[in-house]
């Protein structure tokens, strides 16, 4: 790209870094210049040349009274680091990167060079007007009419701004002070808003720590459904891997039909429910966060009608819809744990994961959550035109001791208050004629053996 103009003093444009090749004995002087001019590194390098920058270097060397001897040998390479942006009619709209150097009577401004054309000028303080600019009014804007037209210079490098303020004459003090005032105001405002945001965040964290329900809800609201699905799915797959499932037949068809009918009557349902029938005599059914539902054959055998099973499903579905599982997890493991589980790259994840597996499998909800799932489950049954009486009678019947292992009871303790609440709720709802399912419950049960 560049072209050689001198055997010992050469400058190159290697991609975005400029390379200056200098005689060895000038390295120390080059170091001194580097500090003044923002050149970054000085190293040995391969010689390639860009003449405009070379002249810039010559001028810099002359001003610093560095003798550049042509006969010397060796290489010095530097990066060229512009420290300001200059705007003007013939410059690109994004501004032209340049090097600004503040001196006693003004400043010099030198441009990185394209195609070898050199541009540099000395601007006396007397010609300059000063203001604050940029998106946050935190940049120092210098404007003047140069020989080639109107110039606008944006400074944001603190050292250059400091040097400018130090060297500027009295007539610039007032506008400089005004600009500084603006910057301080912007910073203060930022600090205030940041404080507000930080404070709210802290409050949220502290709230989680002490288990405030409202804040748990707020945090849960912000967890995307996909994360919840990931959480539930891993536990669901783990569970299914350890149990024998029923993969087809009347029982699977019946459960699927019930779940689909219920899901259809959930307004704005973001979940896709997945249902599996597990072969086990234990009387149980549960729903994992994200919409993964497991029904044990034991529970289906115990039910005398499809409405009874649908009642349990409606209850479990509502644990999912109300995101109860997520609430419990957030409350017990903390929000950060949820994040690290989903993203799977946090140290100590194994422990958290184990804890989570246990947590999900023994999802023992709070009383308020159970009541919520009961009542909204009842309403869902009603909307889906499934007789809600089945739900109530089944819950009551499950509580009767008959020697079978009713695990569902251990997570859903039956009380007369619970049944009464459901009955009262049911009494308030308008009567309607239930629509039957397409299957016969007796046949479904018979298929279970």
């Amino acid at each position: 790209m560049g072209q050689a103009i001198h055997s010992n003093l050469r400058i190159a444009d290697a991609q975005s870094a400029y390379v200056i090749t200098l005689p060895t004995q000038l390295r120390q002087d080059a170091q001194a210049l580097k500090l003044r001019f923002g050149f970054k590194t000085i190293l040995d390098g391969s010689p390639e040349v860009s003449p405009g920058l070379c002249r810039l270097w010559y001028r810099a060397a002359a001003r610093e009274q560095v003798a550049v001897k042509e006969s010397s040998k060796g290489h010095v390479m530097t990066d060229f680091h512009p420290n300001a942006l200059c705007f003007g009619d013939e410059f690109p709209a994004g501004g032209s990167p340049c090097l600004v150097h503040v001196e006693a009577q003004g400043f010099t401004i030198a441009f990185t060079v394209d195609g070898g054309q050199e541009q540099a000028e000395v601007v006396p303080f007397s010609r300059v007007t000063v203001s604050a600019g940029g998106l946050d009014h935190d940049q120092l804007v210098l404007q003047w009419a140069g020989p080639a037209g109107q110039r606008t210079l944006y400074l944001k490098n603190p050292e250059i701004i400091h040097a400018f303020r130090q060297a500027a004459p009295a007539h610039l003090n007032e506008p400089l002070e005004r600009a500084a005032q603006q910057v301080r105001q912007v910073r203060k405002r930022h600090r205030m808003v940041w404080g507000l945001v930080g404070g709210s965040f802290l409050a949220l964290v502290l709230g989680l720590w002490f288990g405030s329900d409202l804040l748990v809800e707020l945090a849960v609201d912000r967890i995307p459904i996909e994360w919840e699905q990931k959480l539930g799915e891993s536990a669901y797959r783990d569970f299914l891997a350890q149990h024998e499932t029923v993969n087809d037949g009347p029982s699977v068809n019946a459960i699927t039909e019930m779940a689909q009918r219920l899901a259809r009557h959930v307004p704005n349902n973001p979940y896709t429910f997945e249902v599996t029938v597990v072969k086990s005599d234990v009387v149980n059914a549960f729903a994992l966060p994200g919409g993964y539902i497991v029904v044990f054959t034991g529970l289906m055998k115990k039910a005398t009608s499809s409405e009874e099973v649908a009642g349990v499903l409606a209850h479990e579905l509502n644990h999912v819809l109300q995101r109860h599982g997520l609430e419990r997890i957030v409350k017990q493991l903390g929000f950060v744990a949820v994040v690290s589980i989903v993203l799977g790259n946090s140290p100590g994840l194994g422990g958290v994961m184990k804890q989570l597996g246990v947590e999900l499998m023994t999802l023992k909800f709070g009383r308020a959550q159970e009541t919520e799932a009961d009542l909204s489950g009842l309403q869902l049954l009603h909307r889906a035109k499934i007789d809600p009486n089945g739900m109530i009678t089944f819950f009551e019947r499950l509580a009767e001791k008959d020697g079978s292992r009713v695990e569902w009871l251990s997570t859903h303790p039956m009380s007369s208050a619970r049944a009464d609440r459901l009955k009262a709720q049911l009494a308030e709802m308008p009567r309607q004629d239930p629509e039957p399912f397409t299957f016969e419950w007796m046949k479904v049960q018979a298929s279970l053996g």
């Binding site: 975005s16 942006l85 709209a93 994004g94 501004g95 940029g134 940049q139 945001v197 307004p267 946090s346």
Partner: protein
Amino acid sequence: MKSEILYPGAFPMVRVELAEGEHIKAESGAMVACSPTIDIESKMEGGFLGALSRKFLTGEKFFFQTLRASRGSGEALLAPTVPGEIVVLELDGVNEYMVQKDGFLAGADGITIDSQMQSMTRGLLGGEGFFILKMSGKGMLVLNSFGAIHKIELKPDQDYIVDNSHLVAWSATTTYNIEKATSGWVASFTSGEGFVCRFRGPGIVYIQSRNPRGFGAWVRQFIPISE
């Protein structure tokens, strides 16, 4: 590091060539294909809390992926999620760009990504939220848009008005104020898109020819609502 835009237009991809040891930050999910010499790391820029706060405060994707040519040189193909143009900017250490949250596709190692806070009015009315991404440093920056990217060049003190949902990126030397497009505040609030940004140069503003929110609203009318 070299880049090339393939299939310019609505469905472009960008090919990035990495020398051994070089790496690039990309929006998570941007990687389409890459050489076997390239390792993909999900690195959280700014640490865990930084990433977390960015996720919840800007709605930005939680991760940036780091594509690292750790086992020799190679190339990676990157593409955005939405149909639209890709533009490659070269930052030289002095110019900085503010980028709205969906506009970032990839950046060279030398690019620093910060979440920056906007002023109250810009945050409330600008439609970009309180935080936007600030890109500084040195190297290649790849932006993507919804629709075509249009570059607006502003001279010092030149004004231009942009609908806020069409913004992609703008240089930090510009300033902007939120203004209402229609007369009357009530009309502004009820019409939904009553706010525009009045930019003032110098600097560059990149806008996208399609409005994601407008498109979303248009699509929504064809989606049957259950019950």
